[in-house]
C-alpha cells in the first residue's frame, strides 16, 4: 500500500468508525474533518508527481514564450527584468513578479501587449488551478 492509499484508508476509518463513536459535537466534528483532510491529502499525494511534471512543463513553455515576446520589443525595464528572473527560476514567486510588473507598466507596455502577455500567463494559471482542483474539491 502506498502513502496515498494509506491516507485514504485511514480517512475511511475515521469517517466510518471513529467519528460515529465519538461523543460530543466538537470532537466528533474534528474526527470527521480529519477524515476530509486526509482524504484530500491522499489525493494530493496521488497526483503529486504528475502535477509536478505538468506544472514544470507549463512553466517552461510559458517562460519560453515570454522570453521570445520580450526580445527586441522595447519592453519596460521592470518587465524585462521580471521575465528574465522568471525564465531562470520558473517558480510561483517570480511569476507573481512578472504579473505585478505587467500591471505596473501597463501604460508603458501598451494595452495590446498587456492583454496578450497576461492572457498567455492566464492560460498557464488556468491549467494549474484545474490540476489543484482535482484534489482540493
Amino acid at each position: 500500500m502506498n502513502a496515498a492509499d494509506l491516507l485514504q484508508r485511514i480517512a475511511k476509518t475515521l469517517r466510518d468508525d471513529v467519528g460515529p463513536a465519538v461523543d460530543g459535537e466538537y470532537p466528533k466534528t474534528q474526527a470527521f474533518m480529519a477524515a476530509v483532510v486526509l482524504q484530500k491529502l491522499g489525493r494530493e499525494l496521488e497526483f503529486a508527481e504528475a502535477h509536478r511534471a505538468a506544472d514544470a512543463g507549463d512553466l517552461r513553455s510559458l517562460a519560453d514564450d515570454l522570453t521570445r515576446a520580450r526580445v527586441g520589443a522595447g519592453v519596460p525595464r521592470a518587465i524585462d527584468d521580471a521575465i528574465a528572473r522568471f525564465a531562470a527560476v520558473r517558480d510561483a514567486a517570480s511569476l507573481c513578479d512578472v504579473i505585478e510588473a505587467l500591471y505596473e507598466t501597463r501604460d508603458e507596455l501598451g494595452e495590446s501587449r498587456f492583454v496578450a502577455w497576461l492572457g498567455r500567463i492566464r492560460s498557464t494559471l488556468r491549467a494549474q488551478i484545474d490540476r489543484r482542483l482535482e484534489f482540493a474539491k
Binding site: 514567486a93 507573481c96 497576461l118 494559471l125 482542483l133 482540493a136
Partner: protein
C-alpha cells in the same frame, strides 16, 4: 465546554449585577474556534421574593481567532454601543473587559436576543429558509433591515471611529490594503492568480461618494430570526464605512446560496432589487457589485490563508482550519473565473 470557566463567569456577572446567589442556567457554548468563543446563558438571581432572569451572551477572545488581527472585541463592543440607540436591531451591549485576569482573556457581555440562527449551509437550515421564503415575512425583513443599516446616520451614531473613506476610490483601495495585510501575515506561499486578482482590483477600483455603514457579511446565518423577522444583526467583525454596494454584492453573490435562486437562500432577486431601492432611495449598481464580488474572492483567499496558517503554525489545533488550506484553490478558481479565465 470549558466548565472551569463557568463559575468565574458566574462570579463576574454577580459582581456586575451586584446580586448574590446568582446561578447560570441554560449554559451553551456555540461556535468553536472560527471566531471568538461564545457562551449563551441565563443569569438567575433573587431579590427578596422576586426571581430575576437575564439572558446574556459572552464572547471571549481565544487569542487565535480567525480575523483577530482585524477585529477586536473592544471594537465590536463599541460598535454595538453606537448602534444601540438606532433603529437597527442589535444586541444590547453590557460590559467589555480587557483585563485578562478575570477570564484569562478579554471578553464582552451582551444581551441574548430572542431568536434562532439556522446555518444556511445545512439541510435543516435550507429547509428553514425555504419555508420562511414561502411565508414571505422574513424575506421582507431581511431587505428592510439591510436598508435600515445602510440609511442610518453613522456619523450621529458615533461610528466615524471606524475610519471614513475619502470620496472616490478610497473605500475599495482601503479594503484591498486590509486583505493584502492579512494575506501577508498568513505567510502563505505566493499565488500568481491572487497577484493577478489584486492587480485587476487595483486597476478597476470603483469610485463612490456615498458612505454608509457596511456590515461586511450580511447574509442568513449572521442574522437572528424571531417570528419571521430579523431580531438582531450579528457578527460585527467585518463592518466598515463605505459603499453600500459592498453589502449588496454579498447579498447578490452565489456564495451565499446553494442550489436555490433565492438570495441568501431567502429572497427573490427581483423583490430584493425593488424593496431595497424603494427603502433606501439608492439604485443598485450591478457593475460595482460585480467588482465587489471579485473583491470578496480576494477576501476569501485572505480568510482561508489566514485560517490554514493558524493551524500550520500551531496557533490553533482546530482541524477545521487545516481543512481551509484546500479552500484556497477553490476560491482562486472562482477568482480566475471572475477575471474571465
Amino acid at each position: 465546554m470549558n466548565d472551569a470557566l463557568i463559575p468565574r463567569i458566574r462570579d463576574y456577572v454577580a459582581g456586575r449585577l451586584n446580586a448574590r446567589d446568582v446561578t447560570l442556567e441554560r449554559v451553551d457554548r456555540i461556535a468553536v474556534g472560527w471566531s471568538h468563543e461564545t457562551w449563551l446563558f441565563d443569569a438567575v438571581w433573587r431579590e427578596g421574593s422576586a426571581q430575576h432572569r437575564l439572558g446574556l451572551c459572552l464572547r471571549r477572545d481565544p487569542g487565535n481567532a480567525l480575523l483577530r488581527h482585524l477585529s477586536t472585541l473592544e471594537t465590536q463592543f463599541k460598535v454595538l454601543q453606537c448602534l444601540e440607540p438606532t433603529d437597527l436591531p442589535t444586541p444590547k451591549p453590557y460590559w467589555f473587559e480587557s483585563d485578562a485576569a478575570i477570564l484569562d482573556a478579554p471578553f464582552l457581555v451582551m444581551e441574548k436576543v430572542a431568536g434562532v440562527c439556522p446555518s444556511p449551509w445545512g439541510r435543516d437550515g435550507r429547509a428553514f429558509y425555504a419555508a420562511a421564503a414561502r411565508r414571505g415575512g422574513l424575506p421582507n425583513s431581511f431587505t428592510q433591515t439591510l436598508a435600515t443599516l445602510h440609511t442610518l446616520d453613522w456619523r450621529a451614531a458615533g461610528l466615524d471611529f471606524l475610519g471614513v473613506p475619502m470620496p472616490g476610490k478610497s473605500f475599495a483601495q482601503r479594503e484591498i490594503a486590509k486583505w493584502r495585510e492579512l494575506i501577508a501575515v498568513s505567510d502563505h506561499p505566493p499565488e500568481p492568480i491572487l497577484t493577478d486578482l489584486v492587480g485587476w482590483l487595483e486597476a478597476n477600483a470603483p469610485s463612490t461618494d456615498r458612505v454608509c455603514l457596511v456590515h461586511g457579511a450580511y447574509r442568513t446565518g449572521n442574522l437572528l430570526i424571531h417570528d419571521d423577522r430579523i431580531s438582531a444583526v450579528l457578527d460585527w467583525e467585518l463592518q466598515v464605512l463605505g459603499d453600500p454596494m459592498y453589502d449588496v454584492a454579498y447579498v447578490l453573490s452565489d456564495l451565499n446560496r446553494e442550489g436555490t435562486p433565492l438570495l441568501s437562500n431567502l429572497v427573490e432577486r427581483d423583490a430584493f432589487f425593488r424593496d431595497y431601492e424603494a427603502a433606501t432611495g439608492f439604485t443598485i449598481d450591478e457593475n460595482a457589485c460585480r467588482y465587489y464580488n471579485a473583491l470578496y474572492a480576494m477576501r476569501s483567499v485572505a480568510f482561508w490563508m489566514s485560517a490554514s496558517g493558524l493551524y500550520a503554525t500551531g496557533r490553533s489545533n482546530d482541524i477545521r482550519l487545516a481543512r481551509t488550506a484546500y479552500s484556497v484553490p477553490d476560491v482562486l478558481d472562482r477568482a480566475a473565473k471572475e477575471l474571465g479565465y
